[in-house]
Assembly symmetry: C2
């Protein structure tokens, strides 16, 4: 199958490229390396050292005897998107080229707008390009479980039957996201649904949980790490906790720590995306996957990190609750459904505890890089203080 990955240089993009190559697919990639630059913008870097993209492709050739055709460009530029789809005529396009950090989008108005425009424009351009050039291509779009927020009822996979005043309809589940970034994903999902209605575009909209892990089988085989961020802006809570444990800092849940989210390992995420690509929806279908394995609270994560750290290294980890810079419920009901991927054959490969041993060992192996990065872990971005004043001062 010909698969084009937008954002192939990213955490998921690179891991997915390796898997697809190893399974014999033809992989084409687009990236402008903006995440590498944006992570530096906040004074950070991937904790695990990254090869340049050309060196990555060499490793792939050495290991699997097959390369990756790559275009350098910006996925939010319609011309770039039209060009790659014209050039590669892909059967499937996986869109991983959006700004993916909630705190980054909350820094100030400037970052809110750039996230809004970049993300929406890349998805809109992709929808039009597929319609104009390769209308039977399957779009696999990365959304997030965060689109749903934390309602006090079960969360279905995208749609549900509603009864109201004695009548029934099958409607999209109401969403309530928790950052401008998360809202861009809701806006994208809405735009995807509408494009599907207009043009019958085949779409898989992936509501993905939080992904953890440093390795897939192919990362180990090639030795070409995918990125692993531990800073406030680009790292997830689990990544930060692991880094804090190895750095002998307290592990710092935001607020009470009862915030609960769906999670899955990088191995599982790549398995799920591969299942989605290799089992496309019917022509004309807009399909939603809730893509996660199990759910944990932030405090569960802190306790697991502490437990595995003790098992591996013998010491104790302090858990220190810090004021929550976000605006979110810290205790709530959470029960999202997730059946469709299991029906298509998804089976989990590694539990959180297995994976935590690997993550902690990988971080421990790079303790010197960690020493340079430990100052970027604690939160500086406050949801409520997000402002436009600095942006305007800078323009004068």
């Amino acid at each position: 199958m010909k698969v084009l990955i937008l954002g192939i240089d990213g955490y998921i993009g690179w891991s997915l490229a390796l898997r697809l190559i190893s399974r014999g697919h033809d992989v084409y990639g687009l990236d402008n390396f903006i995440t590498r630059r944006r992570v530096r913008e906040v004074g950070s870097d991937s904790l695990l050292p990254l090869l340049s993209f050309s060196k990555r492709v060499e490793r792939v050739k050495d290991t699997y005897g097959k390369g990756i055709e790559f275009t350098r460009g910006d996925a939010s530029d319609p011309k770039v998107i039209y060009d790659v789809i014209k050039r590669y005529k892909p059967d499937a396009i996986v869109h991983l080229a959006e700004q993916r950090s909630a705190p980054y989008s909350m820094i100030d108005l400037k970052h809110a707008l750039s996230t809004m425009h970049g993300n929406i424009q890349s998805t809109m351009s992709l929808l039009y390009a597929v319609k104009d050039i390769k209308p039977d291509a399957h779009i696999v779009k990365l959304g997030t479980m965060g689109e749903y927020g934390t309602p006090n009822i079960d969360i279905p996979e995208g749609f549900f039957e509603v009864e109201y005043h004695g009548r029934r309809d099958y409607l999209p589940f109401p969403k309530f996201a928790g950052s401008w970034y998360h809202w861009t994903k809701v806006h994208d999902s809405n735009n995807l649904m509408f494009a599907n209605k207009l043009w019958k575009t085949r779409i898989t909209d992936v509501m993905q949980g939080v992904v953890y892990g440093t390795r897939t089988r192919e990362i180990t085989e090639t030795g070409a790490y995918t990125r692993f961020d531990i800073d406030e802006v680009w790292g997830t809570a689990l990544n930060r906790f692991c880094a804090q444990a190895i750095a002998k800092m307290p592990v710092t849940p935001y607020g009470k720590g009862g915030q609960t989210r769906g999670f899955l390992s990088l191995e599982d995420s790549i398995q799920c995306l591969t299942i989605g690509i290799e089992n496309p929806p019917e022509n004309g279908e807009y399909r939603v996957f809730n893509q996660f394995y199990e759910h944990y609270s932030v405090l569960d994560l802190a306790n697991k990190v502490s437990k595995i750290y003790r098992k591996l290294y013998g010491g104790d980890v302090t858990i220190e609750h810090v004021p929550n810079p976000r605006v979110e419920m810290e205790e709530h009901y959470y029960n999202p459904e997730h059946k469709k991927l299991f029906e298509l054959g998804y089976r989990t490969v590694r539990t959180l505890e297995d994976e935590l041993s690997i993550i902690l060992s990988d971080i421990n192996r790079h303790r010197r890089r960690l020493d340079r990065l430990r100052h970027v872990i604690m939160p500086k971005t406050s949801w409520r203080k997000s402002s436009g004043l600095d942006m305007l001062k800078a323009r004068r």
Copy 2:
């Protein structure tokens, strides 16, 4: 009360300014006259002749002894929004400065993106400016009943109680809009809800029905017409039907004509907005109004136009169904709720049939302008054919 109207030169903006002035409020306005230019872009013009903005303000001074402070600028430019809010420190801000045509947003990818970015950016900038400068100001934001689409169940006013798997929550009603323009209003509503959660901003989000009419009391008193568009892109179905009747052309519903929408007269729209402004929500409230009086199908409108035309001018009007350029259901259930404005005192002033007599007479009075504009009435913009190819050709 100090009221800032963004988009004060538009159809609703101008009519609202007159009403607020006549009720003794201090009115401040922002506009960049882009609708005047965009209507010319599609080869059209307001059927009723418009005074320049400065002449409009003179008429207001002559009639009510009080002027309007005006700033020329683009509401999607954060600097402009910050400046007017700093300068005027308004108690209420009515945001009418978005691109408001569904067909315009469907012309091609370029128009889809400019509508998306302009509308979203103006609302985001406004939210940040209010938060940063005048956090107790009340934002009255114009959305549309079209955000809801046409579900097979009743439509509540924004939120409803959902039961799912035996549990209950009070959630935003799921939306399903019918054009990129309508979706920008959904994206705005979502962004407004989130800003309200972040900063407790006071917001009235107005899901307005289709507005018809050429006059309010103050338009007659000042002789300063508001705009009235009859072309495919900027005119509503009712406006087009009235123009067709007077031009002795067939009246042309799209498809079967069973498409049903909420409607209200310009008099009623201005009354409702005034009620919203003069009765602001509590501090910290995000409030949704379904702002319409009754609902009609497109075919109902055609029949009413035909009936009133016969009464006024004696002749018969031909009704000719034309292929539907839009993607929409042509027969469906439609029963939106609308209680809140009635509870605040809204009472309808003119029925559709009263208003139709006035509209037809106003058009008849400008038959020479109508002769120049009759070629712009029939549809050229096809929802399904919207493409990005021309935009990219133009860029090479």
